[in-house]
Amino acid sequence: MDGHPPLRRSASFPPETIHEIQRAAAEGIYEIRGFGAKRRLPSFDDLVLLGASISRYPLEGYREKCATDVVIGARFAKKPLHLKIPITIAGMSFGALSATAKTALGRAATAMGTTTTTGDGGMTDEEREASSLLVYQVLPSRYGLNPRDLRRADAIEVVVGQGAKPGGGGMLLGQKITERVAGMRVLPAGIDQRSACRHPDWTGPDDLAIKIQELREITDWQKPIYVKVAAARPRYDVQLSVKSGADAIVLDGMQGGTGATQDVFIEHVGIPTLPALREAVEALQELDMHRKVPLIISGGIRSGADVAKALAMGADAVSIGTAALIALDCNRPIHVADYAALGTAPGACHHCQTGRCPVGIATQDPALEARLDVDAAARRVRNYLSTMVLEAQTLARACGKSHLHNLEPEDLAALTMEAAAMAGVPLAGTGWIPGR
């Protein structure tokens, strides 16, 4: 034999693991980063839709109607939301994101007749003006929370957890705590801000029910009240949210993104969106509340195919965060030298926590923020949302559905045993659902 033997890398200690061990040895603290879970997880990619043929007949694309509207909040609220599309923009904070990015998201959502959502840090006037339908989050930190904004919101979302970090609070590192962000949060500028992981004045479902009652009283029972939970024990959390009086439930799977969280949290806590959705739907069905309390699923939704499959599994709507940022320009191969300065490259950047976002989205630096043209960015997100809707309609018509909500589990098959078990649909070519 000639030359050296082939290099033999360890499966247990691949180069990235070696690097992380040595980084931890040098720095003595966990890695904090943005984005969501990067590991391969069972997902909607592991499902396929079963198009119509002889036993079911399809609808004509572009000719026969396939409706997309959804009503959120009709359980108790006097003014439920009527969304034109079942895709919403997830809660992301001003602070984690620039004001320009928040405005662009709001304009795109407005153009599409759907909601956008505030985040940890409160509501900005720019976001309110840009968003015809704005969901106002009530988070454990209570940063910027005030009754005026509660009243000028279109819906309220009590945030219990986030898919990227079930059981964890928010983080915003000092480089993003500008004077304006600090002022909104009543914090000293420049500190590493750690949001609370528990609400300050309630614990458990009995308290939550009373907290929701209080929010309804403050807003005269006008606003739909959502409860957002991270996917960890969705069967319990969904049922307890219903019991607590939620008008709608937002369930965020572990692929959900974050502006800054410990990497170990992002990759190792919570369950994927796919099994979380099935558990949540079953939980609602057990209570006879499926389709009565809308379920909004989030965490790794990227395409109209994901939307169609999520709705077929029983979701009433989906919510997107990371994908919306990517539509804005996140990870676009421009300003490549600035990615390199962060030690990353377009396509792999997760450096939201640094505040040095090369494309001006996850930053509070005016020079970087100026890189995002708000009109063009809003148009891109609008185009992306339109594409997702068209894709979902295409798939639904192929399954013979005149409304996206007519998609059902019977329209799905799984490509892997794991996905079959997690989604509760048969393995393709069989009638077999593992565990049943």
Binding site: R142, N146, P147, V186, P188, A196, P200, K211, E214, E217
Partner: protein, 227 residues
Amino acid sequence: MITVDLELATVRELNQRLHDLPPDTNERAWTIVNPGGRHALLAGLTRPVSITVEGHVGYYCAGMNEAAEIVIDGHAGVGVAENIMSGTVRVRGNASQAAGASGHGGLLVIEGDASARCGISMKGVDIVVGGSVGHMSAFMAQAGRLVVCGDAGGDLGDSLYEAVIYVQGRVTSLGADCEEQPMADADRAAVADLLARTGIPGDPARFRRYGSARRLYHFHVDHADAY
């Protein structure tokens, strides 16, 4: 004086009636009788009305109050005056957990004792407690002043930001990053002013001041054992 009997009217009816008051209302003096520990009483008020509740209230009484002057002539449940923005809320009896939680402004007066987490996450409110406060009071408190005329339970001021705590009695223990700090003339004047405004007896000279050591404001490996 307008009297509302909560054995005859619902909380919803009362709150709506108060929310519907115009800015120049003449209906400025109210008495609420038979509160019966009901929740979310007087939540979200915005007008400068004076209201006395004759009896005990449940959770979140006077939540997010703006401008109203409210007296609870009894005990208060969890989260009294939570997220208060302005105005004054006075509890003549004792208050349960999380009194004044995340309050942004205004004044909360508790003549009796307050349970755990009094002033948790406070963001500018002033709180004066005639008696003692339970453990983890002023947890993650960001701004405002907590004056305790009695004793404070364990882990006072844990993870404190820029709020300031004054305690006249004993402190069981301090939480992470909370330290005793010198009591300056300005501090004694502030305590004297708050005591005078609230009519709570106390000797400013006997109070001690607690604030943030600011050691946890930035992540650092050498701080890990502080938690």
